[in-house]
Amino acid sequence: MPAAAGLEMLKAAAEVFDDIEDADNAESLAAKYGFPLAVNTASALLIGAERAFARLYTRGVDSKIIVSLMDKVNSYYLAACGGQHLDLSLIPAEAASEEMYLRVTGMKSAFAAECACYTGAALAGAEVELVQSMVEFGHNLGMAAQIANDIKGITGLRDIRQRKITLPVTYALAQTNGEIHRLLETTFLKTDIKVTSPPGLIRDTLFDCGGILYASFKMEVYKQRALDILNALELKDIQVKPLRDFVA
């Protein structure tokens, strides 16, 4: 429980900082209550997370394991900062490739599921090979979840209004030409130009060129990989039913 609480607080802190850095969420803590209060809240969450991990000692976890775990979790979140730095540094044209989208998504989004799976496996005393399997499971699960979220961002128009480059958009930019391509370029790459096309038109365009279907296929690829890892573990008599029920 302390580890789960620690991970939740770290994730919450990261989201508050992410919203401040991206400045694109009207529902964020910073947007609703101001920058100073949001920073202070995120700082408190970080400290709370460290305390939560330290409290594993009261649950009988060896201090060396706690230190090793905290080091690993911090390395995950440091890598996530690297992903955010990359995301913030890219110009739209650089962000508009599938390779870059997958790279940044892995660093910024999938890492959280990897980290959680690593933590659970490590605290359960799993062997190195099993820990690695769970990390890979977490990576694939995290990628699938982020792509699913990005599909929702298109169907719900949120990511279109924010002109965010996600997988349906990288597909569409690569696979369309002519007027459709120009429409998508203006919307997602030429962010200095105001968009006059209604978001619903952009959504329909992303559907009708295959962008949503392609993203759905990719999401399913990662989801099935996560399930394959669980199935392989079950053959080694590892109990995976709760996780498989969650994913399937």
Binding site: E98, E99, L102, A144, A145, A148, N149, I151, K152, T155, Y171, A174, Q175, R203, D204, F207, D208, C209, G210, I212, L213, Y214, S216, F217, K218, M219, E220, V221, K223, Q224, R225, V247
Partner: protein
């Protein structure tokens, strides 16, 4: 990992009415023309069953997309 053959297949489905029609009625007949990985083929089959062609204006669209978003 990038999926050039999968991208090409999707592009063809949405730009060629005959291939689109073939994919709707018999996805395997279209799948077999592309060098997809086993993961990609499996994903296409499962998604096709659940989502159909995911074009805008589809009656099943909202429900089908929602069924994908198990994370929420």
């Amino acid at each position: 990992m990038k999926s050039p053959q999968l991208q090409e297949m999707v592009r063809k489905i949405f730009s060629d009415e005959e291939i689109k029609s073939q994919f709707i009625t018999s996805p395997e007949s279209v799948l077999s023309r592309y060098s997809l990985t086993d993961d990609e083929k499996k994903a296409v089959r499962i998604t096709h069953t659940r989502l159909g062609l995911a074009s805008s204006g589809s009656v099943q669209l909202e429900a089908a997309v929602k069924s994908l978003l198990w994370w929420d």
